[in-house]
Subunit: 271 residues, 2 copies
């Protein structure tokens, strides 16, 4: 099975339509039809049910869609990581930081790693808000290591190590009645007005907007303690007792044998 065929199959499966898939792939529709037929002949089983003018996956097709995506991700990873290992001046390590991780922690990690002997150049990628995006990037080779906030989600195929634990704090307008409190408990939270966002992390782009809203008395929020230096004037942070701690962890593909990744992980666990 060639990767080109897998790409063709996945396109048809995702579109449930040969015509649209062909357009997406930039080829004519008959070529796509033939390619899928060839796969079905070689696999000895139909992948699609063509009933009338609808196309749907068979059981075998469902399996191939799942496994094929993983295979394509693995091929893409091989390509990207090979290019990254090219011996010119480009970065040798791609680190993806999920939105919500402490910028201070990231900076500390990068500094500590850069001080190591034989440290590779590190390209830092900031992931968007989509859940699972850093994991996807590790799998398809766009990144080699990820810095993320533990959210109970299982990381299939990835190894990880917790590197920092911190408390949470409530961020309030400076004039709020509770702003003078030395500490608050989670039981007191429901009494506060909406919106309460974000629960688990601070999204970089809109984070400042949120803080402005708080300063204006239009919102409050719960953030990790490490966000305290980033707070503007007009807001107050009160430590929150009884809340689950925010755990930052470093993750990497469990099959990784990169020395650079190993060194970065070692540095991270010793921060």
């Amino acid at each position: 099975m060639e990767t080109r065929e897998l790409r063709y199959f996945v396109a048809v499966a995702e579109e449930s339509h040969f015509g649209r898939a062909a357009e997406r792939l930039g080829i004519a529709q008959p070529a796509l039809s033939r390619a899928v037929q060839k796969m079905e002949r070689r696999l000895g089983t139909p992948l699609f049910v063509r009933s009338g003018r609808t196309v749907s996956l068979t059981a075998a097709g469902t399996v191939l869609l799942d496994e094929g995506r993983h295979a394509l991700a693995a091929v893409a990873a091989a390509d990207r990581r090979t290019r990254r290992a090219a011996p010119d001046g480009r970065p040798g390590l791609a680190l993806v930081a999920k939105a919500g991780v402490s910028v201070e922690l990231l900076a500390k990690l990068l500094d500590a790693y850069a001080a190591e002997p034989d440290a590779a150049e590190v390209e830092v990628i900031l992931a968007g808000l989509e859940p699972g995006e850093p994991e996807r990037m590790l799998r398809d080779g766009r990144a080699d290591v990820a810095l993320l906030v533990a959210d109970g989600h299982v990381l299939g195929g990835l190894d990880h190590e917790d590197i920092a634990t911190e408390g949470r704090m409530v961020v309030l307008p400076a004039g709020h009645p509770l702003a003078a409190r030395a500490t608050m408990t989670v039981d007191e939270l429901p009494a506060l007005p909406r919106p309460c966002w974000p629960e688990d992390g601070l999204e970089v782009r809109d984070g400042t907007q949120l803080l402005q809203l708080i300063a204006l008395g239009r919102a409050f929020s719960v953030l990790p303690e490490s966000s305290r230096p980033a707070l503007p004037a007009g807001v107050v942070a009160v430590p929150l007792a009884g809340a689950s701690p925010v755990v930052t962890r470093i993750a990497w593909p469990s099959h990784s044998r990169s020395l650079a990744v190993a060194a970065l992980v070692r540095v991270a666990t010793r921060l």
Copy 2:
């Protein structure tokens, strides 16, 4: 990057020789040379250092060998699992049992699973002695689940669940001075004569030979308690105190979304 190219590259990398690799691939040597050159051109980096009459990997080549093998395994897995999902009478689930797991436990698992509603047909594969072979079979799709004995080795990319724990016993010739003991400790083991094999598991084919050797007074062994029913006349088993327990676990690819695998794992954890 096409899988054909990856296969070509891996062959050359493994042989360190274009000629032998071409022979192994069943193609002429110049075709192989051209294919690798094409990959190097597209990746923008050399993969091999051709110095005189020796061929060796560059740093980028080393990365591609590692990642490429994973990608090829993923493609092979996609192929095999799709064929296995074909809707005819073939088995829907391939279980690999590592040498050393209790046959009784395996039988109990298969019986319990077969009693489940919508149970798939299970093809049982007995793996050889090579360490890591069941893991490889899970990765390249020859198997969907594995039954193995925990050996401290990390299972990269695999999820697992412990399903049985048992003690160990010392197997001695019936006439041995220690055969009458009700129990032994690990401290007493070094006093016994060689060979002491196997440490962690009973290999099926040669296991009977080992037991015959013990009956003849030429050896002894340490086996899991579950092997007791398989002992022939002429040997005696003495429980071993203080030894690390034998843990049998079930493992599967962490990205598996197969309902059949999930059902089998659920049954296994409830044994």
